[in-house]
């Protein structure tokens, strides 16, 4: 009956094991998505990522044009090049999405993140924390006798580095906004 010798009872023929095993290398991209500021729009974007198994490394959203009712969602995501292309095409298919920009490939861009870091310590550690904060151009926005809250703005890497240095000095709590990004203008 069959030219194909399938072992009876084998379960190796799963219908869903169809992904290419030679997966490409992962890339991290920053996407800027301009959307109508309407109820549920963020859920549509997030639902797309969770429903299709894409990654969200960071996500920032706020209204950017009150009269035009548009918001800007900045998403940092990681995937293979084909997955990144798929994410952009799927985002473009959401009805209230106006524009999708891949800032990682559309020329140079500026990326910034704001972080608040609470560092508790006494004596030398407290002084060292203040000194390092100064080097990072972080501002102390709150202080008590045994802790600071530093505000720092920069690239995610800069915030990571700051956190790494503060950890042995008594880093207690961190709040980060996620990345906001804009494409740079042409020089001419």
């Amino acid at each position: 009956m069959s030219p194909l010798k399938i072992k009876k009872g084998s379960s190796k023929h799963s219908a869903y094991d169809l992904r290419d095993p030679h997966a490409e290398a992962l890339e991290t991209h920053t996407l800027a998505v301009v959307v109508d500021n309407e109820a549920g729009v963020l859920a549509r974007v997030i639902g797309l990522f969770s429903g299709r198994g894409y990654n969200i490394d960071s996500l920032t959203v706020a209204e950017v044009d009150h009269t035009g009712h548009t918001s800007r969602i900045t998403i940092v995501t990681t995937g293979t090049p084909s997955v990144i292309e798929q994410i952009k095409a799927q985002l473009g298919g959401i009805v209230p999405v106006h524009e999708v920009h891949d800032l990682t490939v559309e020329g140079a861009s500026v990326e910034r993140e704001l972080g608040l870091f609470k560092v508790a310590g006494k004596g030398d550690a407290r002084v060292e924390a203040l000194r390092i904060a100064d080097i990072f151009r972080a501002r102390a926005v709150d202080t008590s006798l045994d802790s600071f809250i530093f505000e720092i703005t920069g690239t995610p890497e800069k915030l990571d580095a700051f956190a790494d240095l503060m950890r042995p000095l008594g880093l207690e709590e961190v709040a980060r906004t996620g990345v906001a990004a804009l494409a740079r203008s042409a020089l001419s």
Binding site: P3, L4, G9, S14, Q90, P96
Partner: protein, 598 residues
């Protein structure tokens, strides 16, 4: 704020939200609505009661309403409409919405919702309908002000039918239905920025024409996108196929875009597609995908999919391109528009093809065709009916009818119907392809018959699928819809049983029913006609009796219980590793002379 009350509704140019719903449906050309009333849609039902322009079909379950709307949409090319209440009404619509999303069917579901001031309070029959249906609609809206309701309804029609069609849902709280506001006509509606591009990139179209001119082993691989694009697209496809003389295969969704009797037709492809179609896909050097999406039932193992071909892909949805298979020639646009441009350019450049090579390619395909992969033996004098034989007889006795519409449920019978029935025109074939929804076919046949009252509408079913929405017999009888339920009854979940036999060590876990109804008595209980046929000698007469009866019929065709559906590509295998039935004319087909090419 919206003003309320009857006096306000009589203000000039004002109407209630419920009146807006009916007015918007009329303005959008809707003739039929499939629905089921409930507390949160009573104001709309009150308006439906007071008019005659729109017919309402009372289904027996909201899933039936949505599938009926799908059947209506697929057989007419228009938008299908369903009306359901809040809570369970809306949740029952979810399967139909998902089915329509997977198969790109334009439908609108209008759902009632608890009043705005009660949303979030766990009110009676409250569900987060837009939340639940967000991933299974193309778009959805919760309308909280009557002022925007008519505008949203027109947008909903625009989104459902534009670009890649799909289902949309508009959730309308009861207080919004009662309140009054000014009505926005369709001409003034803000259809917004949603305008998918329909024209293909001329540079890519030129590359496709160049590829057509030089291809030695070309194949057209067409899908539901051709049918969704409208009748003109099917005509253009036929012109292009006739002009080039290239072989054409189609997905389950695309059957009928090119006629089954056409010279270049090599049959359906895919997991249960024809041997010649799948081997031609595997061995081609140019694959022209028109409105299909490289579904896993089509590609089999992606890494081994058609390894030696350049692939052109025409699709209106940018996310379909490069999703599964890399496209060498990607063309984003509407099939009709793109084919028009391709044809014009190909003609203007002198209608060239590598015709000698294509003739050799056809000779190869004819060798594969000689395997006769759909062969089966209905032995004379046998006491049981082969399901393939039942469909072959149904085909022989009905194919002369140009108004024959076929729906199916999901399973073996669906694949056999696709293999043994021929479709000459688009929109004659309604089947759940992407989602594979058992219970789709019966309500879909009701939707088709509502749109085509004099047509012959047959639902080819398996008994297990059919039972999933059998309550719609009430609908068929109430509206005197002469839908023919052609049930291939093997008392098994045939496709599940087949996989268990081939892939799960013949352990038949829960794949049969020990308590099937007497379908003839069931039909009679609903006031319809039932026919039982178990003897091959009686089959033709029984089918004729079904066709001649002016009313709904349940045809209980007892067929062989353990027949398997072949050909079959086990999932995860490439196209050239097919299982063939025992009647195919070679037992070792893969190593035949065609192996050079595959």
């Amino acid at each position: 704020m919206a003003t309320t009350g009857k006096a306000a509704s009589q203000m000039k140019g004002q109407m209630t939200g419920a009146q807006m719903v009916v007015q918007a449906l009329k303005d959008q050309g809707v003739e039929v609505v499939f629905g089921y009333p409930g507390g949160a849609v009573l104001p709309i039902y009150d308006e439906v009661f007071q008019q005659n322009a729109i017919r309402h079909v009372l289904v027996r379950h909201e899933q039936g309403a949505v599938h009926a709307a799908e059947g209506y949409a697929r057989s007419t090319g228009k938008v299908g409409v369903a009306l359901v209440t809040s809570g369970p009404g809306a949740t029952n619509a979810v399967t139909g919405l998902t089915d329509a999303l997977m198969d790109s069917i334009p439908i609108i579901v209008l759902s009632g919702q608890v009043p705005t001031f009660m949303i979030g309070n766990d009110a009676f029959q409250e569900a987060d309908t837009v939340g639940i249906t967000r991933p299974c609609t193309k778009h959805n809206w919760l309308v909280k002000e009557t002022e925007v309701l008519s505008d949203v309804l027109h947008q909903a029609f625009h989104v459902a039918k534009s670009g890649r069609p799909g289902p949309v849902l508009v959730d309308i709280p009861k207080d919004v239905q009662f309140a009054s506001a000014a009505y926005t006509p369709p001409s003034k509606a803000s259809t917004g920025h949603y305008k998918p591009r329909v024209k293909g990139d001329p540079a890519q179209i030129e590359r496709l024409v160049e590829a057509i001119e030089t291809a030695k082993r070309p194949i057209f691989y067409t899908g539901g996108g051709v049918i969704n694009s409208g009748p003109a697209a099917s005509q253009l496809l036929r012109e292009l196929v006739a002009g080039t003389g290239f072989p054409i295969t189609s997905t389950l969704m695309g059957l009928g875009a090119y006629p089954a009797s056409g010279d270049s037709w090599i049959g359906m492809l895919g997991m249960h597609g024809l041997y010649e179609a799948n081997l031609a896909m595997h061995g081609c050097d140019l694959m022209i995908n028109i409105g299909a999406r490289f579904d896993d039932r089509i590609t089999g193992r992606v890494a081994d999919f058609s390894p030696k071909s350049r692939k052109a892909h025409i699709d209106i949805d940018p996310s379909s391109i490069n999703k599964v298979i890399h496209a060498d020639i990607p063309i984003i646009g509407d099939v009709g528009h793109v084919l028009e441009d391709v044809l014009a350019l190909w003609k203007s450049r002198g209608r060239k093809t590598a015709s000698e090579d294509v003739a050799k390619w056809w000779a190869q395909i004819e060798e594969w065709r000689a395997v006769d992969c759909l062969a089966f033996t209905q032995s004379p004098g046998a006491k049981s009916i082969k399901p393939q034989h039942a469909l072959a007889r149904l085909e022989a006795l009905t194919k002369h009818r140009k108004d024959r519409y076929i729906c199916t449920e999901v399973g073996q019978h669906q694949m056999w119907a696709a293999q043994y029935l021929g479709f000459e025109e688009p929109n004659l074939w309604m089947t759940s392809g992407g989602l594979g929804t058992m219970g789709y076919g019966f309500p879909a046949s009701i939707g088709v018959q509502m749109a085509h009252s004099d047509a012959l509408v047959i639902n080819v079913a398996g008994e297990a699928s059919w039972l999933m929405n059998m309550q719609e017999m009430g609908t068929a009888v109430q509206y005197r819809l002469p839908v023919k339920q052609f049930i291939l009854n093997n008392e098994r979940l045939g496709m599940v049983r087949q996989w268990q036999e081939l892939l799960h060590g013949e352990r038949y876990s829960h794949s049969w029913s020990e308590a099937l109804p007497d379908f003839v008595k069931l039909a009679e209980a609903f006031g319809a006609k039932g026919i039982l046929c178990s003897d091959p000698a009686d089959l033709d007469d029984a089918i004729m009796e079904m066709l001649d009866h002016d009313g709904p019929v349940i045809f209980d065709c007892l067929v062989e219980k353990h027949e398997n559906c072949f050909p079959m590509i086990p999932s995860g295998e490439p196209h050239n590793k097919m299982l063939l039935g025992e009647n195919a004319s070679t037992k070792d087909a893969i190593k035949g002379s065609g192996a050079v090419l595959v």
